[in-house]
Amino acid sequence: MAAAASTAPGTGATTPPARPPAPTVASPRRRASGVLVTAVLVVVAVAFAVPLLWLLLAALDPGATLQLSLPDDPGLENFAAVLTVGTTVRPLLNSLVLCLSASVLTVLAATLAAYPLSRYQLRYGRPFLYTILFATGLPLTAVMVPVYSLFARADLVDTRYGTVLFLAATSLPIAIWLTKSFMDGVPVQLEEAAWTDGASAMQSLRSVVAPLMLPGMLVVGIFTFITAWGNFFVPFVLLLSEDKLPAAVTIYQFFGQYGAAAYGQLAAYSLLYTLPVVVLYAVVSRWLGGSFTLGGGVKG
């Protein structure tokens, strides 16, 4: 994910349209290999689709089994069964609270940090950016044990704000990196005008830069939200009481309790839990011109 790093908004975000097939001599061998390649592609597409198809069909099948099959008697019974306050509604709301708080916090902190990094020649700017880049690569799974022990000492285990602060901190490196590259794309002349008119750095950030890079900030926020939404390990370790657990953890408990019998309900729950992420991905990718390419920063 860190490769998204240097995508400048509006510039590198769109991939050029696919090149049309080279209009060379249409030799039969070439056409045959073209058919072969398409056939291979179709096989790969089917292989990727089949496991997911089970999820969609099983959710609609009250008598779902573990194998892919068309429902005999399709219906929404599975959704009705899991749509109770304790099973899905409260966990999904918990997820929303956790992820939204973490995203807002991340975007605010990242914007404040990115501004001086983008605008001033800081003595410690480069080392700081290198450290940030280094931190995006560290395996977060590895810090969960020491984090738990730290949280236990600070009485932060099983607190929502502790979990939010940790989620925000861990998404900050990539967020600062992204926000800085978005900010680099905002021309500095506008601020210079504001400075001439006597605005402070903070004022010009708030009333000149922030409005201009609102789309960028939203992208960073959505990105943080999606990552936090799918995170299972962090809340699994840091939160304990039933009424605070987000959907990522309760769906695991559901799997443990009913996963071996109520396949249809597990599938329905999975879809409910997946839906927000899919919607957000769709929004962002439409926004960025159809290619929310995480690899935008890579130069070939």
Binding site: M1, A2, A3, A5, T15, A22, V37, T38, L41, V44, A45, A49, P51, L52, W54, L55, A58, T65, L66, Q67, L112, Y115, L117, Y130, L133, F134, A135, G137, L138, P139, T141, A142, V143, M144, V145, P146, S149, L150, L165, A169, T170, L172, P173, I176, G230, F232, F233, V237, A248, I251, Y252, G259, A267, S291, T293, G295, G297, V298, K299, G300
Partner: protein, 278 residues
């Protein structure tokens, strides 16, 4: 800048430094060591080196990273990107839609989906027996292959996107020139295209290695590291030691090994992309 620095210092750098300290102690979740943690020097690391479970986990982690990331995601991603060059929009969407969908789905849902797919009564066995091949209990007999396949499925989109972007920036005239000179398809791929996206390949390899090193949820849900310790990679061993056996100090020492491997790759990553971008 201050809020970000404070957050990072307390919740990011703090745990990393703390993990170094903790790994030199006998800290524990329960028992006498929980109340009275003492400094044990290099004991945890000495134990680490002699612990067959650690070596087993290191080997499994290497197999998992090589199989699912370096060979699987990277190879399949590159192959897909190459094959998609010059295909029509219909074929492109037909392929990218399911591949991207697998990537967008949360990790735990991906684990459920593959748990179902590889179950003895799952889709794969039904398909195999319908063509006369024997089915089996994949998660038990071939747990490593099962999690490797699931992780390839989940992560290929990332590599594919990176290579699609990289290939779109390769100028076509060099390739055409090679074609005029009579180079075959394989030769053009080997000597023209691949060298031109060398940097993208390097960056991609480092990134997916870093992501794959820390995979926990997928394996935890599918096999829980089992049967026995047959699929217990370093993150799962760390979790087991720290939270199930309550040995926080030892668990942290294992985490530190993981962190160190990650740090090495992360440095490689900075070398690969950092220089031009800062």
């Amino acid at each position: 800048m201050a809020p970000a620095v404070v957050l990072l210092a307390v919740f990011f750098a703090g745990p990393v430094v703390w993990s170094v300290l903790l790994s030199f102690t006998d800290a524990s979740l329960t028992g006498s060591a929980a109340a009275q943690t003492s400094f044990v020097g290099l004991d945890n690391f000495a134990r680490l080196l002699q612990d067959p479970a650690v070596w087993n986990a290191v080997v499994l982690t290497v197999v998992f990273v090589l199989g699912s990331a370096v060979v699987g995601q990277n190879g399949l991603g590159l192959a897909l990107a190459l094959m998609l060059r010059g295909r029509g929009t219909a074929v492109r969407s037909l392929v990218t839609l399911p591949v991207m969908a697998a990537y967008v789905v949360p990790e735990i849902v991906a684990a459920f989906v593959w748990y179902a797919f590889l179950n003895p009564e799952g889709t794969l066995n039904t398909a195999l027996t319908s063509v006369g091949l024997p089915g089996q209990s994949w998660l038990f007999t071939l747990p490593v292959l099962a999690v490797v396949l699931a992780n390839i499925w989940r992560g290929t989109a990332f590599s594919m996107l990176i290579y699609l972007a990289a290939l779109s920036q390769v100028p076509s005239d060099v390739d055409e020139q090679a074609q005029i000179d009579g180079a075959s398809g394989w030769k053009r791929l080997r000597f023209v295209t691949i060298p031109m996206i060398r940097r993208a390949i390097g960056t991609n390899l480092v990134l997916i290695t870093l992501q794959t090193l820390q995979v926990f949820t997928l394996i935890f849900v599918m096999t829980a590291g089992g049967p026995g310790d047959a699929s217990e990679t370093l993150p799962l061993l760390m979790y087991e030691q720290a939270f199930q056996y309550a040995a926080l100090g030892y668990g942290t020492a294992i985490a530190l090994v993981l962190l160190a491997i990650g740090a090495v790759f992360s440095l490689g990553y900075i070398r690969a992309i950092g220089k031009e971008d800062i």
